[in-house]
Each structure stands twice: as structure tokens, then as C-alpha cells.
């Protein structure tokens, strides 16, 4: 099965479970959790079911395209279900079967994992899901986000698409993955990996990024105070990405690190607060639409 077919099948599976299929967020994020379709939507009483691919940037993980398993931009498949259906684990296993994992021949394990995102002020409990000893999914019940305790609870499934595809295709190097359309993953991404690794580790303008961090921070604060939730949160995401680039670039010392993370977290809290206030003012419209499973 090609990489693109696998993504299509996952999307198809979760679409049939009543998820809205969304698109990736059009700004650099470190994980699908940053996408407002997760970070903001898990807050408050409204139900929500969505699935989307998120190309996620982790500047530190770049290896110039040389490491078989590590790249600075990789795709996650993100599913958020709020509240989760009681048979969520079985559904997850069925989704694996749907992309060709024969569960009688393979071993799936749910290994405890307490997930935490210091930058988002978010925490949850759940598992790393292992396929034959390899971590393929992060399965988390969000407990708090942006400093707010959540009710109802959202289950977040984050599939590591590259790992799963490499395993299913029996490929040892990410560059050799069969993407589909006659291309490999390397055909599509090798030059990007090389260039972005050079950018992240060698070329990124440190002064510029520090300045951008501070200016983006100010803009996020200003916009959130003005009640402009989506644009305000957009700048929170940008701040987080500036921090990730600066960290990869080795420009942030150990002692400064905590301070920057705290600044992003404070912004994320403001965004959460502004979002909740806005939804409440709107009368939590999705509550009225909810009649059971799915978004409507």
C-alpha cells in the first residue's frame, strides 16, 4: 500500500465514524495538537470529531535527510473525538486493520504514557501504542489544556504515518517509502530535509528569530485582548515555531529554555481563555447540533 493510499484509507475510516475531515493548518506547527482543530476545540462543553493530516515540524530532529528514521518535517494523522466513544480502542484497532495491519499476525500493545506539552499547558493520560515493539501512535485522553480542566474529555489519536508506512512497506529508509504517483518520499522531500536541516542548525538568523519571537508574542497578546481568537492563536503558534528554530540553532541556553516555554504557555492560556469566552458568548452552538455520535 502506498503512503498516500494509507492516508486515504485512514481518512475514509474516520470519516465513516462521523469525523469531519479537515486540512492541515497553514502555519508551522510542532504537532497536530497545535492545530486549532485540536487545541481550541477540546475546550468547553461542545462535542467535536475531526481527523486530519498534520505535517509537523521539529527542527531539532532534522538529520539532513541522512538518518533513516529522523526527519525535521513528518506527517501525523490526527483524530480527535470529544467525547470518545466507549469502544474507542476497538475502533482504533479496526483502523489499523483498515490500513492492512493483520492483528492476528502482529502484536499491538498499549504501553502507559503520561503525555504533557509544557508549551501548551496541556496534559493527558494514555498510552504509546506499539506495533511489534515499535511506537506507532500516541493515544491520549486530554485532561487539561491551556490550564483548563476538560469536561467532556477528548481522546486524541496521533498516528506516526511515516513509521507505520515504513513498517507496512518493509522499507528501511524513509527516503525509499513509496509515496504513490510513482514517487518516493525522498523524491518529494529529500531536498527540503537537507535545506531545512542546514537552515535550522546553521543558517537561521538568530537575531531575527529572537526579534520575531518577541514581536509575535506582543501581537498575540494584543489580538487576544481584542477578542480576536483565531488570529491571536495564530501568533501563539508562530511564537512556538520561532522557539523551536532558535532551540535547534543552539541559541537558547538551558537556563533560558524554561523562560521561553513559560512565555509560550502563558500565551496559550490566554488563547484558551479567549476561545472559551467567545464560544460561551455564541451560546456554544455545537451543543445544540449534537444529537449523539458525530458532530451533528
Amino acid at each position: 500500500m502506498t503512503y498516500q493510499d494509507m492516508i486515504l484509507r485512514l481518512a475514509q475510516f474516520w470519516s465513516a465514524q462521523g469525523c469531519a475531515l479537515l486540512q492541515p493548518y497553514n502555519s508551522e506547527v510542532g504537532a497536530g495538537t497545535f492545530n486549532p482543530a485540536t487545541f481550541l476545540r477540546v475546550l468547553g462543553p461542545e462535542p467535536w470529531r475531526a481527523a486530519y493530516v498534520e505535517p509537523s515540524r521539529r527542527p531539532k530532529d532534522g538529520r539532513y535527510g541522512e538518518n533513516p528514521n529522523r526527519v525535521q518535517q513528518f506527517d501525523q494523522f490526527q483524530v480527535v473525538l470529544k467525547p470518545e466513544p466507549p469502544d474507542i480502542q476497538d475502533l482504533y484497532l479496526a483502523s489499523l486493520a483498515h490500513i492492512g495491519v493483520d492483528l492476528d499476525r502482529h502484536e499491538i500493545r498499549f504501553v502507559e504514557d503520561d503525555w504533557e506539552s509544557p508549551t501548551l499547558g496541556a496534559a493527558g493520560l494514555g498510552w504509546e501504542v506499539w506495533l511489534d515493539g515499535m511506537e506507532i501512535t500516541q493515544f491520549t485522553y486530554f485532561q487539561s489544556v491551556g490550564g483548563y480542566e476538560l469536561k467532556p474529555i477528548t481522546a486524541e489519536l496521533t498516528y506516526g504515518l511515516l513509521r507505520i508506512a515504513m513498517y507496512l512497506q518493509g522499507v528501511d529508509h524513509v527516503m525509499n517509502l513509496d509515496w504513490g504517483g510513482g514517487l518516493t518520499w525522498g523524491d518529494v522531500n529529500a531536498a527540503f530535509e537537507r535545506d531545512f536541516s542546514a537552515f535550522n542548525f546553521e543558517q537561521a538568523d538568530v537575531a531575527l528569530h529572537f526579534e520575531l519571537f518577541t514581536r509575535f508574542e506582543g501581537e498575540a497578546q494584543r489580538l487576544l485582548e481584542a477578542g480576536l481568537v483565531a488570529p491571536g492563536y495564530d501568533y501563539v503558534i508562530k511564537c512556538s515555531h520561532m522557539f523551536n528554530v532558535l532551540e535547534a540553532r543552539g541559541a537558547i541556553s538551558v537556563s533560558e529554555r524554561t523562560g521561553y516555554i513559560t512565555r509560550v504557555r502563558n500565551l496559550a492560556r490566554r488563547a484558551a481563555k479567549a476561545y472559551l469566552a467567545q464560544r460561551e458568548a455564541m451560546g456554544f452552538p455545537l451543543l445544540a447540533k449534537a444529537t449523539g455520535g458525530g458532530n451533528a
Binding site: 492476528d104 499476525r105 502484536e107 504501553v111 502507559e112 515493539g133 485522553y141 485532561q143 474529555i153 538551558v254
Partner: protein, 722 residues
């Protein structure tokens, strides 16, 4: 009484391994306690658990409580009748119980006569009682962390997805949130979810086994080890037995089956601990040895149930391990190129704690402190040069790629330092110190084998405790982010088990000397209290009663070795006739003196004993033996002087049990003294001489313990009520 087996099972999504057994024990304890309170007889509880289920079987449970008679007390008789007529209080009581006034009788109590009613209370059915109690029992289980799910109405370790509750053949009307108990349990996770219907409570284990789930943790653990051993043998090797790993794996599989895999023999060039850690810490694989005990390029993984064709699964596991070993080799080679000296240099730019300098500076403090500790033990042989070298290099591996990875290899802290040193040709005895300094890492862990290793381990913890305390990380309540309590306990083990006669207050002063920004006097009392608090816990585990510990610590002694020996000796004496004689004798001497008259100059006692032994009056409370006029007075003085030489030796050799018995032997003379001698006489010189003698004697007792803190049998009960 009709009986039936009772079963209930809490079905969950995978509970963290470490939570399961403690939860099961709580559940069994709480259910048994509930059954006792409800007077429901039953056979011994059977416990079952996997990661997805906690279950209890109560064999032969009474189906109903026995009826019982109950007596209800009403108003006092005096208030029940006025002029021979029932008062509203009496009528109201009868009415509230739904009986006529004539049904009541008079109950005589020590507090007077009351109106009372006797009635028979019919027993309630077990099913009803259990259905009411179980939700509270389930949700009352304590876990290190809990979570909510779905609508957020329930809280547990992981989501609860089903409940089975059967009394005999009947389903108990139990509900929890929106869940209702039934008779259907879930089978192992696989492509087709299996439902297991349980006809009768007693069939639980058999039904699960038939469906490929072994619910009994002990049997399953045997299955894990048997399968793993067989698999290792099939590969021509021998399983590296690992109890901890077996405990973990036991809860990762509901039906353990072993699968063998292999890795590239070239990886065996890595230190053995690196290879086994890559296998165990993350992947939970067992290691395999050859007949000579060398690591084989093979592993055993425990699967959850049989697989028809496991080749793909094997290859998958092999690939994951190969990637981890490749990472390890990458780190190993990079660190070898940097070298131990290079790693040590990196420490200068690694922050230890905000405001408390780098790890390089910490290493320098360790050199000074370790040297100081060695100097405090002049009679013991320590390789000072090796100790100094080790203090300087012991933190170097913190800067290594292997440890910086931040994942499973961080467990190899200390050990990696040793391996890098050995690889560079550092003599083994010296390299070993780098590993020894991290010991003991947790309760029950090994201690350093050498004195130098012990001193370095002590220095490391003392410095960390003082620094972290100063940085605001002193433990409070349940918060102890840097595990200072565990580190203090480690210090105590490091002092006690190798019998180091070091003094706690001096150790703390030496560690405080590394932090010139604080005055030792400001921090010492709090730190000393902290250590003594840990020590008390340790002694309590050894069976020492709190009053004994208090009495011993109140002697002012701070050598933990001596405190331990005294606490154990005095505690061991309790129950013996000598114990009471000792305590009462000491108190008779002390009682006549005001507390402040006897200082806590414990370190003086040995010198005092020398004086006693030589027939001289010890300082500071000089007296004149020649002025002792009463026979009882002279007899007690002679008894003390006669006991002194042996006492001196017993205390010097820490034979405190003998010392306490010897002091107890003075009790007859003490009694005779107080029966026959008037201390506070008119003659001022005579009185002063007697008081001075008694002060010296009190000082001698106090040196060994403050006996006024010991609680004698019967004292607790007679203590005045507050």
C-alpha cells in the same frame, strides 16, 4: 445459611503496570473489611488481575446477613414521665419507632436510667448490600494518577469499560455511571473481539482460561518464565533471569507466549549493560546468555497469545531493537571520541540548578567534601588520589551523548562513566568508583563495595541535599521533586551498613562549607531534623518504638551508627525486668535535679567515665567523695566507680545492650540511696556535694539516652487526659 460464590470484575483499558497489584490489594482489603462489617461470612478471597481487569472471587458468601437484635435508647427516664404521666419526649420516641408506649422498657446504664426499645432487625440480602457498596469501593481505589474520560463523571486509573458482578448465577444489580454490570467479560485483544459469558461466579477463571486469558497473576508469571526459559534454551542459550522484568511483562500479556529474536553479534562490542538496557528498559525483552555467561546476540519477547506465523512479528521486533542498538553505538562512539576528560570539561557549561553553578563547580565541591570525609576517618585506609580523581570525573557521563539522549540509557548514569574510563585504560579499581558513587539508586539497591566509593556516594548526596535545600527544594508534604528524602535515606544506609562512625552534624557542616553564601548555623538545625526524621522512619521499620528513638536522639549523640546501636539495644531490652529498673533508676536521679542542671555534653561522657574509673570526681560538677557520710551514699558511689571501666569499654565498642544492663544494675544502689539519704539537707556544703554527685550521675545516664522520654508500660493509659 444459604451461600453462593460472588465474583466481580472491573474491565478497563490498559492500566499502568505498576498500579495493578497495589490496587488489587486495596480492593481485596476493602471488600473483606466491608463483608466483616456487614457480618457476611465467606471463604478466602481470590484475586485476579491483568492490565485490563481487576477481579475478586469471594467463595461461599452468605447470601444474607443473620437477623440481629438491636436496642435503641430513648429519652432519660426522668424526662419520660412527669407526675406518672408520659411526657411528649416519651410519646415522641415511641411514635418515631412506630411502637406503642407499652413496648418500651427501662434500660439501666452507668449514666442513669433510660427509656429503651428492643427490636429484631432482619438481615439484609448480600446482593443488596454489595450493589450499594461496590461503586464506592471501585471509585475509592487509590492510584498514583487518575483520569476522567467520556462525560467526565467517573475517575479511575484508565477508563472502565465493563463490569461483571455475579452472585452465584445471578447478575448483581450494580451500576457505575452509565455502566451496568453483566455476566460478559472481554477476551484478549485481537482482530475479532471475543466476549466471554460467565454462567456462574465460580466459573470465572475457567471461562477466561478457555478463552485464552490467564487471570491469576501468579500462574501467569510462571507461564512467562517457563516460556522464556524454553525459548532461550531453544536458541542454545540460557535465560538471564530478571524478576523485575518478569513482574512487568506479567502485566503486558494476558496469555504469555515467548518469541525468540536475534541481533547483530557486532553489537556485543558495546558494554553489556548498554545492550541489556536497550532490550529491557524500553522493549521489555529478556536477555540470553551462553553457557559461559557471556551475552548472546539473542532476546526473548513475551507476546500476548499465540500467533500462527510469527516470522513477521519477529522481524519487526528485531528491527526495532537493531535501531535502538544502532543509536547506542552511535552515542558510544561519539563519547569515546570526546573522551572522559573532554566530557568532564563539558560539565563547566552544564547548569546544575539555577543560581547554583555548573556541574563542573559541583564536581569541585565533591572533591573537597570527599577529601574531608576521608580525613575524618584517619584509622581507615583510603586511596586519596583515586578518590580525588573520581570526585572530579564522577559527573562526566552526565555530559555524554548516551546519557543526554534522555531516554532509556539515563538509567546507566555512573555505569557509563565507568565504561568510558575502562575503555580508556583507567585502572579498574579507579574506574569502579565512578559507578559506585551512584549507589544506592533506590531502596534495596547495592551499596558501594569500597570505602572510597562509599565516601564519594555520601559526598554526592550531602552536597545535593544541601544545595537543593538552599535552592528551595526542601521536601514539603507530598512534594519532593528531587527525592531528597530518598537521598537522605541513602546517606543513612551508606553510613550504617559499612559501620562508618561519622557524625551527622559534622557531615552537614562539611557539606554546608561548600556553600559559603549561607551560614551553617542557619540551616544546620533544619537539615539535622530532616535527617533524624528519615532515621526515625528507618528505625521504625526495624521495630524501634518512637519513644525509644526520641530518648536516644535526645542524648545529643549524632553519630548515626551509635544512635542505631543504642536504639536497637534499648528497644531490645524492653520487656526485660532490667528495662524498667534502668528507666526508673535514671529518672529517680534526674527528677531531683531541674532539667537545665544537666547539660547535653554527651561527648564528655567518655572522659567522665575515665574519672569515675580512676575514683576521681568528673568535671564539670566536682564533688568530694571524702565528704560522703551516709553508707548508701558511699555504696552508690562505689557501685558507679566499679561499673565505670566496663561501661567505658562497652560504650567505646558500641556494646550498648551491655552498657544499659550495667546501668540497670545500679538500680538497687540508687533505690537505697534515695530511701536512705536526704539530699536537700540544711548543711549547704553537704547538699552541694550531694547534688554535684547526682548531676554527674544524671549526666552519665543522659549520655546514653534521655530516659524521661521512654514510656513505661501503663504510663500511656494513666497519662492525664487533655
Amino acid at each position: 445459611m444459604p451461600k453462593a460464590d460472588f465474583l466481580f470484575e472491573i474491565g478497563c483499558e490498559e492500566i499502568p503496570v505498576g498500579y495493578i497489584e497495589p490496587a488489587l490489594a486495596q480492593l481485596a482489603g476493602n471488600l473483606a473489611a466491608h463483608l466483616d462489617v456487614q457480618r457476611l461470612g465467606h471463604g478466602p478471597l481470590q484475586r485476579f488481575a491483568t492490565a485490563r481487569r481487576l477481579a475478586l472471587l469471594v467463595p461461599a458468601l452468605d447470601r444474607e446477613q443473620a437477623d440481629r437484635e438491636e436496642e435503641l435508647t430513648g429519652p432519660p427516664l426522668a424526662a419520660a414521665y412527669r407526675d406518672g404521666q408520659p411526657t411528649p419526649a416519651a410519646l415522641g420516641f415511641a411514635r418515631s419507632q412506630g411502637v406503642a408506649l407499652e413496648a418500651l422498657h427501662t434500660l439501666e446504664t452507668p449514666r442513669g436510667s433510660y427509656l429503651a426499645l428492643k427490636r429484631r432487625v432482619p438481615g439484609r440480602p448480600a446482593a443488596e448490600l454489595l450493589a450499594a457498596e461496590l461503586p464506592g469501593l471501585i471509585l475509592g481505589l487509590r492510584f498514583p494518577k487518575t483520569m476522567t474520560w467520556g462525560d467526565g463523571s467517573l475517575r479511575f486509573a484508565r477508563p472502565i469499560r465493563w463490569l461483571v458482578a455475579l452472585l452465584g448465577e445471578e447478575v448483581l444489580p450494580l451500576s457505575l455511571g452509565s455502566l451496568r454490570a453483566g455476566r460478559v467479560s472481554a477476551g484478549r485483544r485481537q482482530s475479532a473481539a471475543v466476549a466471554i459469558s460467565i454462567p456462574r461466579a465460580g466459573d470465572y477463571a475457567a471461562c477466561l482460561r478457555a478463552a485464552g486469558v490467564e487471570p491469576d497473576p501468579r500462574r501467569r508469571r510462571e507461564q512467562v518464565l517457563a516460556a522464556a526459559r524454553a525459548s532461550a534454551a531453544e536458541q542454545g542459550g540460557r535465560l538471564v533471569e530478571d524478576e523485575e522484568l518478569a513482574d512487568t511483562v506479567n502485566y503486558l500479556s494476558e496469555w504469555p507466549v515467548a518469541l525468540a529474536g536475534r541481533f547483530a553479534p557486532a553489537m556485543l562490542a558495546l558494554p553489556r549493560a548498554v545492550v541489556t538496557t536497550a532490550m529491557k528498559a524500553h522493549q521489555r525483552y529478556f536477555s540470553v546468555e551462553d553457557a559461559a555467561g557471556a551475552l548472546a546476540p539473542a532476546f526473548v519477547v513475551i507476546l500476548n497469545g499465540e500467533r500462527p506465523e510469527p516470522d513477521e512479528l519477529r522481524r519487526g521486533n528485531e528491527r526495532v531493537l537493531a535501531a535502538r542498538l544502532a543509536d547506542a553505538r552511535f552515542y558510544w562512539e561519539a563519547d569515546r571520541r570526546t573522551g572522559l576528560a573532554g566530557l568532564r570539561q563539558r560539565l563547566d557549561s552544564v547548569l546544575w540548578i539555577e543560581g547554583f553553578g555548573s556541574l563542573g563547580q559541583r564536581s569541585e565541591r565533591l572533591r573537597v567534601l570527599a577529601g574531608h570525609l576521608a580525613a575524618a576517618l584517619p584509622e581507615r585506609t583510603v586511596d586519596h588520589e583515586a578518590l580525588d580523581w573520581a570526585a572530579l570525573h564522577c559527573k562526566a557521563d552526565l555530559a555524554s551523548e548516551m546519557i543526554k539522549d534522555g531516554k532509556e540509557f539515563t538509567k546507566l548514569l555512573g555505569l557509563m562513566g565507568r565504561e568510558y574510563a575502562l575503555a580508556e585504560g583507567v585502572p579498574a579499581a579507579r574506574a569502579a568508583l565512578l559507578y559506585e558513587h551512584v549507589l544506592p539508586r533506590q531502596a534495596g539497591d547495592a551499596l558501594p563495595a569500597t570505602l572510597a566509593g562509599t565516601l564519594l556516594a555520601l559526598a554526592d548526596r550531602l552536597d545535593a541535599i544541601v544545595g537543593l535545600w538552599l535552592a528551595g527544594f526542601a521536601p514539603t508534604g507530598s512534594k519532593d521533586p528531587y527525592a531528597l528524602r530518598r537521598q537522605a535515606l541513602a546517606c543513612l544506609r551508606l553510613l550504617l551498613e559499612p559501620s562508618l562512625p561519622l557524625c551527622l552534624s559534622q557531615l552537614l557542616d562539611a557539606a554546608l562549607a561548600g556553600y559559603p553564601q549561607v551560614s551553617p548555623a542557619a540551616l544546620r538545625p533544619a537539615l539535622l531534623d530532616f535527617f533524624l526524621g528519615r532515621f526515625e522512619g528507618l528505625m521504625e521499620e526495624a521495630g524501634v518504638a518512637p519513644d525509644i528513638f526520641d530518648a536516644v536522639v535526645d542524648s545529643g549523640e549524632t553519630r548515626v551508627l551509635d544512635l542505631q546501636a543504642r536504639a536497637l539495644a534499648l528497644n531490645g531490652l524492653r520487656g526485660d525486668a532490667a528495662f524498667e529498673r534502668l528507666v526508673i533508676g535514671a529518672r529517680r536521679v534526674g527528677n531531683i535535679l531541674a532539667k537545665e542542671e544537666v547539660g547535653l555534653a554527651a561527648e564528655r561522657a567518655q572522659a567522665d567515665l575515665e574519672c569515675w574509673a580512676a575514683g576521681r570526681a568528673p568535671l564539670p560538677y566536682g564533688y568530694d567523695p571524702g565528704r560522703m557520710v551516709e553508707a548508701a551514699e558511699r555504696a552508690l558511689h562505689a557501685a558507679v566507680a566499679a561499673a565505670a571501666p566496663a561501661l567505658r569499654d562497652e560504650i567505646g565498642e558500641r556494646r550498648y545492650g551491655d552498657a544499659y544492663r550495667r546501668l540497670a544494675g545500679l538500680s538497687a544502689s540508687i533505690d537505697a540511696y534515695f530511701d536512705g539519704v536526704m539530699v536537700n539537707v540544711e548543711d549547704e556544703a553537704l547538699r552541694a556535694n550531694r547534688l554535684a554527685f547526682l548531676r554527674n550521675l544524671a549526666q552519665l545516664f543522659l549520655h546514653l539516652a534521655n530516659f524521661s522520654r521512654v514510656v513505661l508500660e501503663g504510663e500511656r493509659e494513666s497519662a492525664p487526659e487533655r
